[in-house]
Structure formats: C-alpha cells, structure tokens
C-alpha cells in the first residue's frame, strides 16, 4: 500500500513536471525597425561679398546616430565634402553674379538629403560693407590729411599728398587727386603738382566741388587748383602769394558762387570759383589769428572760429562778419571744464543749424580731450561738456537726421590710435559712440556719410615693427556704423 502510494506520488509529480515543460517562453522579435532618416535641411545665404557668398544651414541629424557630413556644390560642381560645420564660404566668385549652391547632407552609407539655394555676389550697385586699399606705385605712399568730397553718384574725390623717393632733384611730394565709384574702385588718378619739404608749410588740403560735381577745387598753401572731375585735368591754377604776404589757407566754405577762405593769420577772402579771381580780401578781417573753421548763418553772415595767438588755451572766440567779410561781433567763452579737469583746447569745427544755433567741437591735442559747446544766435550758452570725453576731433557734420556726427582720433597709447565717432542729438546729448579697434591702428584722414546711416572712412594704417601697410584705405561701414 505504502509502495503504491509512493508510486502514485511520483506519477503525479512526473505528470506535473512534464506539463510545465510544455509552457516554453516566447522568443519573438517584436522590435519595430524605424526607417533610417535624416532630419530636415534648411539652408540660407548668410552673407555675400563681391567675390564670395557664405551659406549656412541647420545641422542635420541621422535617426540612426550615424555621422552626417556635408558637401557643397556650386552650379552643380562639387567644391568640398566632408564638412562638419554648418557654415561655408564659396570664394573667388565673380562680382554681381547669380549662383546655385547645393548643400548635401549625407552619411557614409549613402543616406542623403540636399537643398539648393540661390545666391548672388554683390555688385557695385548693391549696398553693404566695402573695403578698398589704394596704392599708386610700389614705392610711393599717400600721407597726411586728405581732402575728401562725396559725389552725387556715391563715389568720392580724394586729394592727398603722394610721397615718393627723389632721385633726380625733383620734389618728393605730389598733389594727387583720384576719383572712385560708389564701390570704392579707383576710376582715375592725376598728379597735379610737385612740392618739396620746404614748400609744405601746412598739410591742410581743402576740397570742394561745383557745377553738379563736374569741377573740383583744391585750396592748399597759398594757391587754388580747379580741375575737371572726369579725369583730373587742371582747368585753372592760381597762386595768391602777392595777396597773402606769406599767409597760407587754413579753411574754406563753399557757397554757390563764391568760396570763402580763411587764412592762418586771420585773412578772410572771397574767391570767384569761375576764374579763381579774388572778389574781396580782408587782411586780419577781425583780429590777427588763425581762422579754424568757417560757416554761414541763415542771414548769410560769415562766422568763423578764431584762435588768437596770445589767447589762453581755454579761450574760445567765434567772430561774425557780414557777407562781405566786414566784422560785426565777437562771441567769446572760457572753454575750460568747470571742475578744472581740463585746460581747454582748440575748437576745430563750427556748425550752424537753421535756428542759427552754433555748435563747436574741438579739444586738447595733448590729452585727446573732446570739448564741445552749443550757443544760441545771441551768444547764450545752451550746452557744453561738463565731463571729459576722449576724442581728438578731425571733422563734424550734420547727418540727414539732423544729428551731429563728430569723428576723430582715439589714443590707445604708443602707436595705437584709432577712429572714434560720437553722434550727438541737437541738444548735444551723446547718442552713440563707435570706436574702430577691430582694424589695425590707423589715422582717420577723411569721412563722409550715406543716407542709410553708414559712413565712408578714409584712413592710413600706422606702421609698426610688425605691421607695414602704407596703402590709403577706404572702408564703408554697415548702416549702424560698424565694420
């Protein structure tokens, strides 16, 4: 009995285990294979120049985590492959040309996606930043302050001194005038006159145009040159040595039918631009001194900054004459800062607005301090700087918004100097400051502006042990004044 019970037990146990063996665990592959895909490619032209276009695109990912690289085709010709960045420039292109740029993202095993974008290089008729260097000869260089005049077609006339080695007893300076188009390309240059070191009493070159930019007029030292702006050919050249008794020109103001000229010893002249004849001359029109800047008010009075030789450094004088140059009155101010933090300095530029408010800009050359002053037609001070700003003023003008743009030189210590531009509103509140420290140390030689807010800067780089570039440089900034 006991034995049969044991046998049943074993039988049940056997049956139990034999049943369990039958329930095998499933081993089915339920994984749904995702199709290998690339994420979307979005490409665009991010920048363009005269000879390049830059394209950029969104990074493309592979659903299978495979490495994606990019190939670039220019008009169906492969330029580069294996790129891992998402930005690329196509170079050595033609100016003003349309191109098709294909960006292809691919994996090693051939999965790929592509997009074509249309791109165009800039042409001279398109806007944008411009950089040009001018070199006339391998051995000559343009130096000193330049006369710069913007023309109605967007190009410029530039007058400068060209210095060259002197092997044959000929003076080492030439007055050079050259014309550029709106893209800064030099259209022609003309050497106008020869000068030696001894002839150079002042490096001021004064330039204006007339007859709808058909004629240019240069005033320098004690003579004037009229030339055609189509090729620089001299029309008339006249010297005023006998009239000036050794005095030389310092500043001009161009009116439609006369050029008012201020001299370095206080002479005021009116010159007929047709034949360069002298209409009138007042030797020491008001007092003996240096006429720094001339402007004309709404009543056609001629006003100018006068720096008397024996004045305190902080003394500011503005003289007003009638249209014939006859002295009417003087406005004088103390230019030193109220807290004594500055000793004053020469006021260099005089601007007058429609309400005959006067704006003066200048400063202290030793410390590159910017000084400014606004006074009303009756001589009441409306605004002056109360703290020190740093800029050695070279030029100032009203822009098309009625703001005042003041440009000059910043001192970075040693040979490091660069352009600074302050923009003031009419209340003489500083709206912006721009300093061009991204380019090598340089001297600003001239400046004009464009209606889009961009500036045209003309400059020379400073030569140092490590940097030698004596070319004359033109930079058109972006609309925000940046380069």
């Amino acid at each position: 009995m006991f034995n049969s019970r044991i046998a049943v037990f074993w039988l049940v146990l056997f049956l139990f285990f034999s049943c369990k063996k039958d329930s095998v665990i499933k081993n089915e592959d339920n994984f749904v294979e995702q199709p290998e895909q690339l994420s979307e490619l979005k490409a665009e032209v991010s920048a363009a120049g005269y000879e390049f276009v830059e394209v950029q695109w969104t990074a493309v990912n592979n659903t299978h985590f495979k490495a994606v690289t990019y190939s670039i085709y220019l008009d169906d010709q492969k330029v580069v492959d294996g790129l891992t960045t998402t930005k690329y420039s196509l170079i050595n292109l033609k100016e003003g040309q349309d191109y098709a740029v294909k960006i292809r993202a691919s994996t090693k095993d051939g999965k790929q996606i592509e997009q074509i974008v249309k791109a165009s290089t800039l042409s001279s008729s398109s806007g944008g930043r411009i950089y040009q260097e001018y070199s006339i000869h391998s051995y000559s260089w343009m130096s000193g302050p330049a006369g710069v005049q913007k023309l109605s077609d967007g190009g410029h006339l530039i007058v400068n001194l060209l210095q060259h080695p002197d092997y044959f007893n000929e003076e080492t300076f030439k007055i050079i005038v050259f014309r550029t188009d709106k893209s800064g390309h030099m259209l022609w240059y003309r050497l106008l006159s020869s000068m030696g070191y001894g002839d150079l009493q002042s490096s001021e070159i004064l330039l204006t145009t007339r007859k709808e930019d058909q004629e240019g007029l240069i005033f320098m030292q004690d003579y004037a040159i009229k030339f055609t702006t189509t090729n620089g050919e001299i029309l008339i050249k006249k010297r005023y040595k006998d009239n000036l008794n050794g005095e030389i020109f310092r500043t001009i103001y161009a009116l439609p039918n006369e050029i008012i000229v201020g001299g370095e010893q206080g002479s005021l002249l009116s010159i007929n631009p047709e034949d360069l004849s002298l209409s009138w001359l007042h030797t020491k029109a008001s007092k003996s001194g240096l006429i720094m800047s001339i402007n004309v008010d709404s009543k056609k009075n001629i006003c100018y900054i006068l720096r008397e030789l024996n004045d305190e450094y902080s003394k500011i004088r503005v003289h007003k004459c009638n249209a014939k140059g006859e002295f009417i009155k003087e406005f004088s101010f103390d230019g030193a800062l109220p807290d004594g933090g500055d000793l004053g300095g020469d006021m260099k530029v005089l601007l007058i607005d429609e309400q005959d408010n006067f704006y003066l800009f200048g400063g202290n050359s030793s410390f590159h301090h910017l000084l400014y002053l606004k006074f009303s037609a009756d001589g009441k001070v409306l605004k002056r700087n109360e703290q020190i700003e740093y800029l050695w003023v070279r030029t100032a003008f009203f822009n098309d918004k009625g703001e005042i743009v003041v440009a000059g030189q910043m001192d970075g210590g040693g040979l490091n100097t660069y352009t600074g531009i302050y923009v003031f509103d009419k209340n003489m509140i500083i709206k912006s400051k721009n300093f061009y420290t991204d380019i090598p140390p340089h001297q600003l030689r001239g400046m004009t502006f464009n209606l889009d807010g961009s500036y045209n800067l003309f400059l020379n780089y400073m030569e140092t042990y490590t940097y030698e570039n004596s070319n004359f440089v033109f930079i058109k900034t972006d609309a925000d004044g940046k380069i």
């Binding site: 120049g49 930005k87 170079i91 050595n92 002197d166 092997y167 042990y465 030698e468």
Partner: protein
C-alpha cells in the same frame, strides 16, 4: 781671466741656446705684430627672420656679419612683463643662426633682441622685435607650409600648399593669406588624409630669391606665420666665390697680371711667389686721393678723377677745386696728372661716377660734376656728365662728349666692341619724375645712346644702385651689394639675378679686377675669386 772665462762660458751657453732665444724673440715679435694688426671685427646683426610662429613657439633665424663671436642668441620677455627676461642661445646651421623660443603663452606679445658675446663681453642689438604668438583657437588649424622652399617662375608666379587640420571647416571668406604683405588667391581645401587638408595658394613675388613672410589672417586675427625662401624654379646663374690670400686692400690695381696697391705716396706690389707685399717706393710726390683702382692702358695705370683743391699760399681763402685724374707708369715709377681746371669750382660741387672704360682699344675717362643740394643729405644733385678721350700721341685727355641721357649711378662697359651704358634713369608718371629704374643703353662711337633695356614698370620699377660693372663671359656683371649680383645679357637684352652658392662674410662690395684670368672682387677689402655658372 776669470771674468773672461765666465764670459766665454756664457757665450758658449748662449750659443747652445741661441736658436731658442732667436725663436723666442721671433715669437714675441710676431705675436706683438699680430696684436697690433688684428682687430676684433665689428659684428653686425643681419637678416633677422621670424621663421615660424604658433601658439607657444617662435622660430627665429639671423646672420652675424663676421666671425669672432663666442656665443649668440636672443633675450626676450613678455611685453606685459619686461622685467622677466629670458635668453636662448642659437645654434649654427651653415651660415645662419637658428633658435626657438619655446613654451610661450598663446596670443601674447613678446619682445626680443639679438645678442652676441665677443671677448667675453655681451653686446645686445638696440633693435627690438615684437612677435605675437597665435591664439590657441587658431592653433587647432595648425597651419604649416611643409615645403622647405617655394619655387617661382620667371615672372614671379608661385603656388604653395598650406597644410593643416580641419581646414575644410574654415570659413574661407574670412581667411586672408598674405605673402610679402600682399593677399594671394586661395583654393578650396583638399583632403590629404583624415582630418588633414591642404589649401593651395597662388601669388606673385618679385623675381629675386629671397625669404618672404607668409601670414594667415582669420577674421583679422593672425593664425599663421611662416617665412620661407622663395627660389627661382629653372636654370639660373649661380655665383661661387673663393676666398684668396691676396693682400687686403680697398682698391687693387692690375698691371701685366701683377697686383699693385697705392696709398697716398706709397706704391706696393704683391709678391705672388712669397705671398707678401713688397713696397716699391715711397715718394713725397703723392698720387693723390684715390677714387678707385687703376686701369691698365698704354703702359700705365689710370686712376679715376677726383676733386683736387688748390689753396693759394698768399691767400688760402681764395681756394678753388677742379677734377683731376692720375696715371702711374710701373716701368719707370713716373706719375702723370690730368687736371681739368677749366671746370674749376669754389664749392657746392663734387665728383660722382668717376671711372674709365676701354672700348675698341681706346681709353675714355668719365665723371659727373654734381651740384651739392645744400645740406640735404640723400637729396640728389643736378650733374654734368663728362666724357674724355685719351689721346695716345699727346698723352692727354680731350673732351669727347657729354652724356645725352639723364642717368645716375652709371657705368660704361664694352662687350664685343659694343659700348653699353647702364644705370638708373627717371621713371615718369604723368610728366613727373617719381622714381628711378635700371636701364641699359647701346652707345655709338659718338656717344649717342639708345635705350635697349628698361627694368620694371612705372608702378613697380627695378630700382637698385649698381656699384661696379664689368664684362664677363660676353655679358655684363653688375655688383650691387655683397649678396646681390646681376648679369645683363646683351644678346638676349635680359637681366638675370645671380644667386650665391655660398654666403659671403662682408659688408661693402668693392670693385672687380681680373687676375690670373679670373675675375675677382673685394668685400670689406678682402679679395675673392668668383665664377658664375648657369644651372640649378
């Protein structure tokens, strides 16, 4: 007797050691003479090149003009920390001294000066050089030109490969490569292996073997700097010089293949057999201040005209000057003077370009009488250029012509019975003389000149100052400096730069002279024999 014996003994002892005493005295004598004659050379630091820059290393090489330095190197410091000065000694490879400033900080300006030690005294060059290491950001591209030199063609065109890491990722519109400060054309990066790429650059340099700097600027920041030799790719002329043991003298005159040396009133001759100088005569009759070596003609040595000033004894203030040439007859020791008193001047004029040329077996003397520009050094002068013919019968010079072309630093050379005039002529731009360029003229028997070669362009003239010119292998060899020789081929009307096989230790190149059928020249008065071959 005893005294005599002792004395005799002493003599005997002296006799035994006499040779020793004589030797000792000779040694003393020669050592004294050596001390008196041998001066330490004035060492100049030349051709300082910054060869390579990366983020932590600057390679520099330079030359020293003379031997005699014990050690040399550079001292340098970080511009922001001028007190922490370090020095690195240079090693010498061929004639150049090389060193590396290592372990520098990235994107940092360093100032260095070259020094050398002479007679245990350290002398440091006053000139400072500033270098800036590259940023570590730019170092990731690790740009480098692998080639040891870059070849240019006869127009100066060259291509070079710049290798680096991940160059495919460079935004090329922001990359500017400059060679000798001029931007070159870039190609697209081409893969070499893995992440390594190369960019081929194309540009143009002046056709002169020289070291030029290659700079890479990325977004205005310098990311690459290397200077490399640019070498003409083709057959060119190679000058090999050999130092001689000839007497050191500024002007060596050759007469019947014997070397003569003239100072004011001393005539010496080189004894080639004994390698020594023999003084022939010392005469109170001065041959005058020498304007150059003598040239052999008509049994004489003719010396270039110089300015002679006459001071009247009774009134020295009434002095005047005039050009005067000289000749010397080696056979007799006689001297002759050729005065041009008709051209007397009181002051503010002086003599330039004084020389002789032998053409079709006739001797011509040339010189310029130039105006002093009135105390402006370096400012050129207006000059009258005279040509005289030597009359073998009268033994006098007769005015033949005046130069009919405006030319400075000129020389006449006769090749194959054709006379050539070479020098610097004005470069005109819009009617103004604004530079000078090298030109060669054919000159007829009446000294009318016709231009046959003009180097360079108005924009880029070929301006160099010929020091001496001589006929060499149917061509005209021109020396400009100790390391600058040019060869004008009248048959091709082409000017070639002559490369130097070996560097030369000297500062001032002197005139050529022919001796033992070999052309020689002097550098710092040391005579060298030269030969020129065409090849690679």
């Amino acid at each position: 007797m005893r005294i005599q014996t002792l004395f005799s003994l002493k003599l005997m002892q002296m006799g035994r050691y006499r040779w020793l005493m004589v030797l000792g005295m000779l040694c003393t004598f020669w050592s004294c003479q050596k001390n008196a004659e041998l001066l330490d050379p004035e060492i100049n630091i030349e051709n300082v090149f910054v060869e390579f820059i990366n983020s932590n290393l600057v390679d520099i090489n330079y030359k020293l003009s003379h031997l005699g330095y014990q050690e040399t190197g550079v001292s340098y410091y970080k511009k922001s920390n001028p007190t922490a000065i370090a020095t690195v000694n240079a090693v010498r490879e061929n004639d150049r001294l090389k060193l590396s400033l290592q372990g520098l900080e990235a994107n940092t300006e360093y100032i260095f000066k070259v020094f050398y030690k002479q007679n245990n005294e350290q002398k440091t060059d006053a000139k400072e050089y500033t270098v800036k290491t590259l940023s570590t950001e730019s170092a990731k591209f690790a740009l480098e030109v692998k080639a040891a030199e870059i070849h240019y063609d006869e127009n100066g065109n060259f291509t070079a490969d710049i290798e680096g890491e991940n160059l495919n990722n460079l935004n090329l519109s922001k990359l500017d490569i400059k060679v000798d400060l001029k931007s070159v054309t870039l190609g697209y990066p081409i893969q070499i292996t893995g992440s390594r790429y190369k960019i081929t650059i194309k540009g143009r340099v002046r056709t002169m073997n020289n070291n030029y700097a290659i700079q890479g600027l990325y977004e205005g920041e310098e990311i690459f700097f290397q200077s490399l030799p640019f070498v003409f790719d083709g057959d060119s002329y190679w000058l090999t010089y050999q130092s001689t043991n000839l007497h050191r003298f500024t002007y060596t005159s050759v007469f019947n293949n014997e070397l003569y040396f003239f100072s004011e009133n001393l005539v010496s001759k080189w004894d080639a057999a004994d390698n020594r100088l023999v003084t022939l005569e010392s005469s109170p009759e001065s041959i005058g201040y020498l304007g150059g070596p003598g040239i052999q003609f008509d049994g004489q040595l003719f010396f270039p005209a110089v300015g002679k000033t006459y001071w009247p004894v009774d009134d020295p203030s009434a002095f005047y000057s005039y050009p005067e040439g000289y000749s010397y007859v080696p056979a007799t020791g006689k001297r002759f003077v050729y005065s041009f008193k008709a051209l007397s001047f009181v002051q503010n004029r002086y003599i330039l370009n004084s020389n002789y040329v032998i053409h079709k077996n006739e001797l011509y003397m040339v010189y310029s009488l130039a105006d002093d520009a009135g105390g402006y050094p370096g400012v050129p002068k207006k000059a009258d250029n005279f040509i005289y013919h030597y009359n073998k019968l009268t033994k006098q010079f007769e005015e033949k012509a005046r130069l009919d072309t405006e030319i400075i630093n000129y020389h006449f050379v006769s090749v194959n019975n054709q006379l050539y005039l070479l020098g610097l002529v004005p470069v005109y731009d819009q009617g103004f003389k604004i530079s000078a360029t090298f030109a060669v003229f054919k000159v007829d028997d009446n000294f009318k000149s016709t231009e046959v070669y003009r180097g360079g362009t108005v924009k880029d003239p070929l301006t160099f100052f010929p020091k001496s010119a001589v006929q060499y292998d149917q061509k005209i060899l021109i020396s400009v400096a100790v390391d600058d020789f040019k060869l004008f081929d009248p048959a091709e009307l082409k000017l070639y730069q002559v490369n130097l096989r070996n560097g030369i230790d000297g500062m001032y190149v002197g005139p050529f002279f022919n001796y033992n059928n070999k052309l020689h020249f002097t550098a710092d008065a040391h005579a060298y024999e030269l030969s020129i071959v065409k090849g690679r």
